[in-house]
C-alpha cells in the first residue's frame, strides 16, 4: 500500500493532485495493460496443453488434467471427479472410454471397475506448465534449423554491416579525397529508397548471383545500411585527427590506423549500430519471404508465418515458437533499453 500512496501523492509542483495527475496515471496504467497484456497472455498460453487451449472461455493460468499412476497399468491414467449414482463424488482414474460410457477405477483399489456416463465425470486439474510444447517443437518440426538460420543471418549480417559501415564512415570522416561529399550524399540518399519498391529487380540480381534459397541472399543486400554509415560518421567526426597523425608518424598503415585506433574508439557507436542491426535482421520478413522458398532455409519469422497458415489447430506449438522468437529481442530490450532509446532519440532512426 505504501507504493500506492507515494504514487498518489506524487504530483507537479505544490498543492493537491489535479485532474491532469489522475489522467496521467490512469493513462499509464491503461497503457501498461494494453501494451504488456497481450504479450503476457501469449506467454501464459504457451504453457498450456493443447486440451486447455481448446477450452472456452479460457483459464487465466495454465492448468492441466492431473494423472495418476495406477498399479497394473503401463501409463499414468487421467484423474476424474465422478458423481456416483448415489450422489457421492469420488476421484477415479479412467481406464478407457467407449462412446459415452467411461470405465474408471479407484487408484487405491484398482480391481473394481466403475462404468459411468461421461457427463457425470469432470477432470481433476492442477497447475501444470506444459513445457512439452517447447521440447516437442524441436523434435516434431525442424525448429532447430530455423533457429540456426535466423541466428546465422543475424550474426553474420551484423558483423559485415559493422565492418563495411565503419570502413565507409572512416573514409567519409577522416579523408579528404575528391568526390567524398558526393559519395556521402549518394549513400545517405538511399535512405529514401525503401526495399519495397525494388523487389522484382532485386530478385533478379540475387537470382543471377545464384543466391536464391541461400542465406547469403538475405545477408548481402542488407549490409550497406545508410543509417549505420551516418551514425558512425557522426561519431568518428568527434575523434581527434591528432591521434591519426601521431600514428602516421610511427609509420602505421592506414588500415592499421582504422583497425587499431578508430574501431576501438568508436565502440559506443558500434554497439548502438550492432543492437539495431540485430533487431533488423532478426525481424526481417518480406525479403526473406521472397528469397527463401525452401523449407530448410526458412528463418524463424518465415517458419512462424508458414505454421500459422497450416497449424491452425496446433496453437500450442505455434505459441511456444512465437515465445522463443520474441525472447532474444525481449532480453536485448531488458538489458539495453537505455542505449536503444537514446540511440533513437538522437539519430531518429529505427
Amino acid at each position: 500500500m505504501a507504493s500506492v500512496t507515494t504514487i498518489l501523492s506524487a504530483r507537479r509542483g505544490r498543492g493537491k493532485p489535479d485532474w491532469t495527475d489522475w489522467f496521467s496515471y490512469g493513462y499509464l496504467l491503461l497503457g501498461l495493460v494494453l501494451m504488456f497484456g497481450p504479450v503476457l497472455w501469449l506467454v501464459l498460453s504457451s504453457f498450456k496443453s493443447a486440451a486447455a487451449l481448446n477450452e472456452f472461455p479460457p483459464q487465466l493460468l495454465p492448468y492441466g488434467q492431473k494423472s495418476i499412476a495406477v498399479p497394473g497399468q503401463e501409463k499414468p491414467l487421467p484423474l476424474y471427479r465422478v458423481t456416483m449414482p448415489d450422489g457421492a463424488t469420488r476421484e477415479l482414474a479412467e481406464v478407457r472410454r467407449i462412446g459415452i460410457q467411461a470405465t474408471l477405477v479407484d487408484p487405491k483399489a484398482p480391481d473394481q471397475e466403475y462404468k459411468v456416463n461421461i457427463r457425470d465425470r469432470k477432470p481433476v486439474r492442477e497447475f501444470r506448465l506444459a513445457t512439452e510444447n517447447y521440447s516437442e517443437i524441436f523434435d516434431k518440426f525442424s525448429f532447430g534449423t530455423y533457429l540456426w538460420n535466423s541466428v546465422f543471418i543475424t550474426i553474420v549480417a551484423t558483423l559485415i554491416t559493422l565492418l563495411f559501415n565503419a570502413m565507409a564512415a572512416f573514409a567519409l570522416s577522416k579523408y579528404r579525397f575528391g568526390g567524398r561529399d558526393a559519395v556521402f550524399l549518394v549513400i545517405i540518399s538511399t535512405l529514401m529508397i525503401p526495399p519495397t519498391i525494388i523487389l522484382v529487380p532485386n530478385f533478379l540480381v540475387v537470382s543471377e548471383l545464384g543466391l536464391l534459397n541461400s542465406l547469403w541472399g538475405v545477408i548481402w543486400p542488407a549490409v550497406a545500411t545508410p543509417t549505420g554509415v551516418f551514425l558512425l560518421r557522426q561519431y568518428m567526426l568527434t575523434i581527434p585527427d591528432e591521434l591519426i597523425d601521431a600514428a602516421r608518424m610511427d609509420y602505421a598503415s592506414e588500415w592499421r590506423i582504422f583497425w587499431r585506433i578508430i574501431l576501438p574508439l568508436s565502440a559506443p557507436a558500434l554497439a548502438v549500430l550492432a543492437i539495431f542491426s540485430v533487431m533488423w535482421r532478426w525481424n526481417d520478413f518480406l525479403w526473406p519471404l521472397i528469397v527463401l522458398s525452401r523449407t530448410e532455409k526458412f528463418t524463424l519469422q518465415l517458419a512462424l508465418n508458414a505454421f500459422q497458415g497450416e497449424l491452425t489447430t496446433q496453437w500450442h506449438y505455434l505459441l511456444a515458437m512465437t515465445v522463443i522468437t520474441l525472447l532474444p529481442v525481449t532480453l536485448v530490450f531488458a538489458f539495453l533499453q537505455k542505449y536503444i532509446t537514446t540511440g533513437i532519440a538522437s539519430a531518429g532512426v529505427k
Binding site: L28, P38, L163, F170, G178, P201, V205, N283
Partner: protein, 321 residues
C-alpha cells in the same frame, strides 16, 4: 587483420593517402550499387516489358502496356470497374489505412509523450512499456493479436462473460480493417513517442515558468508554447509515419492475409502477390505497381523536405523577429 593489412598497404602505396579513402568506401558502395542503384534502373526495364520470364533478354518490350493494364478503369472511383480491380482496391485501402493509422497514431503518441514528459513515478519504466512492442517482429506482433482476436480468443471470452455474443474480429471486413489499424498503431507508436518526447524535452523550461508567472492555464501553455515549438518534430513524425504506413505489409499479411476478401489488401501485398506468390509471376505488372508506389513515396519525401525547410525558415524568422 594482418591478412588485410598487406594488400591494403600495397594499395596505399599506389593510391596515396587521401585517395585510399576510396578503398574504404568501396565495399559499401559496391553493395549499394548492386542491390539498390542497379535495381532502380532494372525496375524500369521490368515495368516496360512483358511475359513471365525473369531473365531480361527473354522479356518482350511492351512499352506502357503494364501501366495501361493497371490504369484501365471505367471509373477510378469504383475499383470494380477496373481491369485490375485488386490494384485499385489496394490503393484505396492503403490511402484509407495511411490516413487513419498515422492520424490516430500521432495523436496517441503525442498524448503519451506529454504524459511521459511530466514528473511521474517510474518514468523510465513506462517509457519502456510503450516502446517494447516496437522491437517485436511484425510476425510476432501479428500472432500475439491473432491469438487474442481469434473466434475462441480471450477478447470474445471477455465479451461472452459480459453477456455479449462473440464477434468474428478478423472475418468481418470492417473489424478486420479496424484491427489492422489498431495493431499497427500498437506496434509502432513507441517509436514516434520517443521522437516527440525528445522534442518536448528540448523546449526550454523557463518558457513554462514565465507562463506560470502570468498564470496561464494548462491549455494555454499547451497551445501557445508546447504545440508551436513541437511543430517541427510533429511534421517529421507525420511524414515518417506516412512513408511507413504506405508500405504496410508484414503485420497485416500474417494477421489477415489481406482478407476477408480484399478488405485488408494493401499495395505492397499486391506487388508481392502479382510478382511472387501467384502461380504465374507477372514481374512486369509488379514492377509497374512498384513505380506507382515509388512515385507516392517520392511525393511524400519531397513534401517532408519542403515542410522541414519551410519550418526551419519560419522558426528562424520568428526567432529574429
Amino acid at each position: 587483420m594482418n591478412a588485410v593489412d598487406a594488400p591494403m598497404r600495397a594499395v596505399q602505396r599506389v593510391l596515396g593517402v587521401p585517395r585510399i579513402g576510396w578503398m574504404f568506401v568501396a565495399p559499401n558502395l559496391a553493395i549499394l550499387g548492386l542491390f539498390t542503384f542497379l535495381p532502380i534502373v532494372v525496375n524500369f526495364y521490368f515495368a516496360f516489358t512483358g511475359g513471365v520470364q525473369l531473365y531480361p533478354s527473354e522479356r518482350p518490350f511492351t512499352g506502357l502496356e503494364n501501366l495501361e493494364t493497371l490504369f484501365e478503369c471505367e471509373s477510378y472511383l469504383d475499383p470494380s470497374t477496373c481491369r485490375k480491380d485488386l490494384f485499385w482496391r489496394a490503393i484505396y485501402n492503403t490511402g484509407k489505412f495511411a490516413l487513419l493509422q498515422v492520424g490516430l497514431m500521432v495523436a496517441f503518441a503525442l498524448i503519451t509523450a506529454l504524459v511521459l514528459n511530466r514528473k511521474i513515478l517510474g518514468r523510465g519504466f513506462f517509457r519502456g512499456v510503450f516502446f517494447y512492442p516496437v522491437l517485436l517482429s511484425p510476425v510476432v506482433v501479428a500472432l500475439i493479436w491473432k491469438w487474442v482476436l481469434q473466434r475462441e480468443g480471450v477478447l470474445n471470452a471477455v465479451l461472452a462473460g459480459a453477456g455479449a455474443s462473440p464477434v468474428g474480429w478478423l472475418s468481418d471486413a470492417s473489424w478486420a480493417f479496424f484491427w489492422c489499424v489498431f495493431v499497427s498503431i500498437w506496434a509502432h507508436m513507441g517509436f514516434y513517442t520517443l521522437i516527440l518526447l525528445a522534442g518536448l524535452q528540448a523546449i526550454p523550461a523557463d518558457l513554462y515558468e514565465a507562463a506560470a508567472m502570468d498564470s496561464a492555464s494548462p491549455w494555454r501553455r499547451f497551445s501557445r508554447i508546447t504545440l508551436p515549438l513541437l511543430m517541427p518534430n510533429l511534421i517529421v513524425v507525420l511524414v515518417l509515419g506516412l512513408i511507413r504506413a504506405v508500405q504496410i505489409f508484414d503485420e497485416v499479411f500474417v494477421l489477415t492475409g489481406g482478407g476477408p476478401g480484399s478488405a485488408t489488401t494493401f499495395i505492397v501485398q499486391f506487388i508481392y502477390q502479382t510478382g511472387f506468390a501467384e502461380s504465374i509471376h507477372q514481374y512486369g505488372l509488379a514492377a509497374a505497381a512498384s513505380l506507382v508506389l515509388a512515385l507516392s513515396l517520392l511525393v511524400l519525401t519531397l513534401l517532408q523536405l519542403r515542410m522541414t525547410r519551410k519550418n526551419l525558415a519560419g522558426g528562424k524568422a520568428n526567432g529574429d523577429g
